[in-house]
Assembly symmetry: C2
Homo-oligomer: 147 residues x 2
Amino acid sequence: MSEESLSQIELEMAVLSRRIASVSRNKREENLVRAAYLLLFQISTHGPAGVKGLAEELQLDISTVSRQAASLDQKGYIKKVPLPQDKRSYLYEITEEGKREMTEYQQIRREKVNELLNGWTEEERAQFGVLLKKFNDSVKVYWSKGD
Amino acid sequence: MSEESLSQIELEMAVLSRRIASVSRNKREENLVRAAYLLLFQISTHGPAGVKGLAEELQLDISTVSRQAASLDQKGYIKKVPLPQDKRSYLYEITEEGKREMTEYQQIRREKVNELLNGWTEEERAQFGVLLKKFNDSVKVYWSKGD
DNA sequence: ACTCAATAGTTGTATGATACAATCATATAG
DNA sequence: CTATATGATTGTATCATACAACTATTGAGT
């Protein structure tokens, strides 16, 4: 039951949250914002999708995704494809420029993470990656039921 | 150099960031907000401090801390103590009620984390705690120099 | 076939943590 | 004694988000 790991995770999550909140504000991000990045990533890995599906996948409100998508569309990173069989629906698909932009942003992020993990051993990196993913998965499960 | 761990951490951090952004919005938090919680925690573990010191410690803008402190003060969780030798300065110290509130909030958070980490082994929890702390420390170092 | 409910998406509005800039009061240096 | 520095507060803007209201289209039941 180890109170200690529990307390540590609880506290460090709080710390990380604040850092993240801070970084997403003051960083004059280039073209892509983190939120939009994940949207691009989703489309790019799972193919074209409508806002409803994207919202579910990303666990965001539809309105939020709608705005993000509109913004990406306006920048030319994704494009709206009408569905013939349902005139209410669209699919957003990623454009070549969108792919380029996403990859570039991803590269920048990876470099930053790489600098950040400067003194880390390969073992630690690998473990952290795995556990972080596990954590996110746990959160996803936890949220989709109750709460 | 393992591109893989790097990519994984990079991506999962993005995911976690969005989740955190999401949770801090839609959760009708009780009395304490995460940001304020860390402020209380800081005062409670490191003793009374002024907003300037707190802002440095928490790596936030002074104005942000000032508002958070004012809010906590107003709720009676911390109190302002004037410094006799410098009439511009105050120390904020935690009140009994503040301690109680902080502990209670902490307890709730721990329970949530505990539920979240439901299927995790003790080994994984311990590792994750350690690595998460290491990550936060790395971020702190990374930020305090350049960037 | 007509009406009404369901559904996909957009838009209006509010919120909350944050940063930056301006300001106020006090302190310190020249 | 004045000018500058410093601690703190307050004004303003931003941004991702949620919820609610709305529009347009679809489908279901009679």
